[in-house]
């Protein structure tokens, strides 16, 4: 098993946001996480990536047998956790490509891989740009500075392609992409899929899952996974919304005397 999350609880500013998450992801799998706004999807992604303002109060997270919660954010990244951010930040003056070169060099050092020569790096950059159809001129601009919403999302996927992570968590990468871009990005991700890596797709829309077919779909509500199923669950949600799940959840909670 690649990723194993056991009874994960986390607070932000004293408020409990994740309330006992259990999730297992194997290499080669794609998991989709859906759920209403504010249910804790981005929080789960942040906790996995090691954002410091979240306090883990209970539970465990293992990545290929290593305790993820013991690692600093950059160590998790080097171990192969990649988060495509819902809201990528802008960093003025830092060129996209220099930043990637630095990141890749850190990651390769950690993985005991030789450093790429300038030529090899450029070759790789070109290949990955093609794979996700990322415009070369964006690669040379300052990191996300003045990028449109969709361009920022595509940059996240370009970085993903460059850094070749084990576990990729994509937080609403599909929102903000136009129809063509969604298709292009999805096909890029499909090409990156292998038996060695895994993807967790956080999304609100069934459309993405038509392009990247998930092995499992989970619904996160109120800090817990309240339902899991196969790709048909996404269709059912598209049709019925979340109310029936919320009712089910609150019904159970009432029965359990919560």
């Amino acid at each position: 098993m690649m990723l194993s999350i056991k009874n994960l609880h986390a607070n932000i500013e004293g408020k409990e946001i994740l309330k006992g998450i259990n999730l297992e992801v194997n290499a080669g799998e794609v998991h989709a996480i859906m759920g209403p706004n504010g249910s804790g999807k981005s929080s789960l992604a942040s906790v996995l990536a090691g954002r410091e303002n979240y306090e883990v109060t209970e539970g465990e997270v293992w990545l290929d047998g290593k305790n993820l919660l013991d690692m600093k954010p950059e160590e998790r990244a080097r171990e192969g956790v990649f988060l495509a951010f819902q809201y990528p930040v802008e960093i003025p003056g830092v060129s996209n490509i220099n930043f990637l070169k630095t990141a890749l060099s850190e990651i390769r050092t950690h993985r005991n891989l030789p450093q790429l020569s300038a030529k090899e790096f450029l070759k790789m950059t070109r290949e990955k740009q093609e794979l996700v159809e990322f415009e070369a001129k964006l690669a040379n601009r300052s990191l996300n500075q003045g990028f449109s919403g969709g361009e920022k999302k595509r940059n996240e996927v370009f970085q993903l392609a460059m850094l070749e992570p084990k576990l990729s968590i994509l937080d609403e990468t599909d929102s903000g992409l136009d129809i063509d871009a969604l298709r292009i990005v999805s096909s890029g991700i499909n090409k990156l899929r292998s038996t060695e890596n895994a993807f967790v797709l956080i999304t609100h829309y069934q459309r993405l899952l038509e392009y990247i077919v998930p092995d499992f779909v989970h619904v996160l509500y109120n800090g817990q996974i309240v339902k899991s199923g196969n790709k048909d669950l996404a269709l059912e949600l598209e049709e019925k919304g979340y109310d029936w799940l919320k009712e089910e959840f609150h019904g159970n909670a009432a029965l359990n005397g919560q």
Partner: protein
């Protein structure tokens, strides 16, 4: 791309990298300052009477000056009698080749990374190294001579080119300018002299490395650069100093003169010992730098990267006298731990159609205090003159401070002055974003800061830009938790 690599490679060092004292025999004067001290220095340097007279005028002016009070920090107590005003390496001869130079000195240069070696020369840089007070070696002199360019120590210029020195020395920064300039006039040790003849474009960056070595010795450089009509020169000044516990005063004076159609580009990377984390030790850097655009269509540009010193007090300014003359000031000033920087510029628009541009990037970390102080003055004759000022502050952490003091005076209603200012904090989410890509926080800060300072760093010649990036990173080490 290359610049970033080098910068990132060198991020590893923790303590002040250049902290060591070299054991070389020094010829040091007694501590204290009086007329005899001035005479001693002048005699040591075999100066003519006119030079001694001028020093004496400086000394008299010094006695009458008050310490400045307007800066945004409390002036430290300075005991001018506790300073020794002259130090020179005992071997005073000039060397034909590096083999003849004291090997200990060469090792020092090596540790400092001063590229006095073949590679540097091949790269086209003539290095005139001022080791404490006396010029030790000058390279490329011959080649420059052929073009009529004079690049030598001030002492040598006093001997060899007295007419030029007498005409221009003190013509931009008078001996009465301020207490530190007066002191410098009285006791200046050495420094560089540059003269570019009419119509000559200096084919290489002229570069001088200054450093302070002798214990307790104030350093008083004097630099004079004259660009005659339609000439061009780019001059680099870089500094490092050994670690020590006592505060050391540095009071340099730099004068630039650009005649009609001439251009002078003056770049500084300053990395003197800033003191330890508690603020103990460190250099007091009180510098007077001023340029005069004397002729029409002349141009002067100051670029500075200030990462060192316990206190930096420095306002490179420009007198825009010639019509259509242009002045530029590009600055990055970093303060970490207990460092203080009060720096900026003065643009005096005197002629018509003059232009000035000010780009100032302050970075404060730790408990550092960073003040930008700038004056833009439009005189009555400065018709249609323009100024643009961009003044940015970046804060790292909650204990540091950034302050801006922009002053504007306009006596001509056809002149325009534009001022933009921003203050930002390095965002946790920016650092986290970079962390998430495998980059640790220290490197992340270095990347962000270098990105922020890019507009200024881009003004530096390539090899200096690399050094400057490295210094920014080194200076900010330990500024994130």
């Amino acid at each position: 791309m290359e610049k970033d690599d080098i910068m990132l490679d060198q991020l590893a060092n923790k303590e002040y990298e250049f902290g060591f004292v070299t054991a070389i025999d020094m010829d040091i004067s007694e501590t204290g300052l009086n007329e005899d001290t001035v005479r001693f220095i002048s005699a040591k340097k075999n100066e003519p009477q006119w030079m001694l007279d001028w020093r004496m005028k400086g000394y008299q002016a010094f006695l009458q000056q008050e310490m400045p009070e307007w800066q945004n920090f409390k002036m430290p107590e300075m005991d001018f009698q506790a300073i020794s005003y002259y130090a020179a390496p005992k071997q005073q001869a000039k060397y034909a080749s590096l083999d003849e130079v004291d090997p200990e000195l060469l090792r020092t240069f090596e540790k400092l990374g001063i590229p006095m070696s073949e590679q540097k020369q091949l790269a086209g840089v003539a290095v005139d190294v001022v080791f404490d007070s006396v010029s030790v070696t000058t390279t490329y002199k011959k080649h420059l001579n052929e073009l009529g360019i004079i690049f030598c120590s001030i002492s040598e210029a006093v001997r060899e080119h007295p007419e030029l020195v007498q005409k221009y020395l003190g013509s931009v920064v008078p001996h009465t300018d301020n207490v530190f300039a007066s002191l410098n006039t009285a006791v200046f040790s050495d420094g560089s002299f540059v003269y570019i003849p009419k119509g000559v474009r200096c084919p290489m960056e002229l570069s001088t490395y200054f450093r302070i070595n002798a214990e307790n010795t104030g350093q008083f450089e004097r630099t004079l650069i004259i660009a005659d009509e339609d000439s061009y020169v780019s001059y680099l000044e870089g500094c490092t100093a050994p670690m020590r516990d006592e505060n050391q005063l540095h009071a340099a004076v730099v004068e630039l003169i650009a005649m009609k159609g001439a251009e002078i580009k003056y770049s500084t990377v300053q990395n003197w010992y800033p003191g330890d984390k508690e603020g103990k030790g460190g250099i007091f850097n009180f510098v007077t730098k001023r340029g005069a655009c004397r002729g029409a269509h002349s141009k002067i540009s100051w670029t500075q990267v200030e990462t060192g010193s316990a206190i930096t007090w420095k306002y490179p300014s420009i007198l825009l006298q010639g019509d259509y003359s242009a002045g530029e000031f590009y600055s990055v000033a970093v303060t970490n731990h207990m460092q203080i920087a009060d720096t900026g510029t003065k643009m005096h628009h005197i002629g018509a159609h003059t232009k000035s541009r000010i780009i100032s990037k302050g970075i404060s970390a730790g408990k550092g205090q960073n003040s930008y102080r700038g004056l833009v003055q439009m005189g009555p004759r400065a018709a249609y003159s323009r100024n643009f000022t961009q003044c940015d502050s970046l804060l790292i952490g909650d204990l540091c401070g950034a302050h801006t003091f922009p002053y504007i005076e306009s006596k001509n209603n056809t002149a325009t002055i534009e001022h933009e200012a921003t203050t930002s904090k390095i965002g946790e989410d920016q650092v986290f974003y970079l962390n998430q890509r495998g980059i640790d926080s220290e490197q992340a800060i270095a990347l962000i800061v270098n990105g922020y300072a890019k507009d200024v760093l881009n003004q530096l010649p390539m090899e200096f830009a690399v050094e400057a990036q490295k210094l920014l990173s080194l200076t900010l080490e330990g500024s994130v938790g």
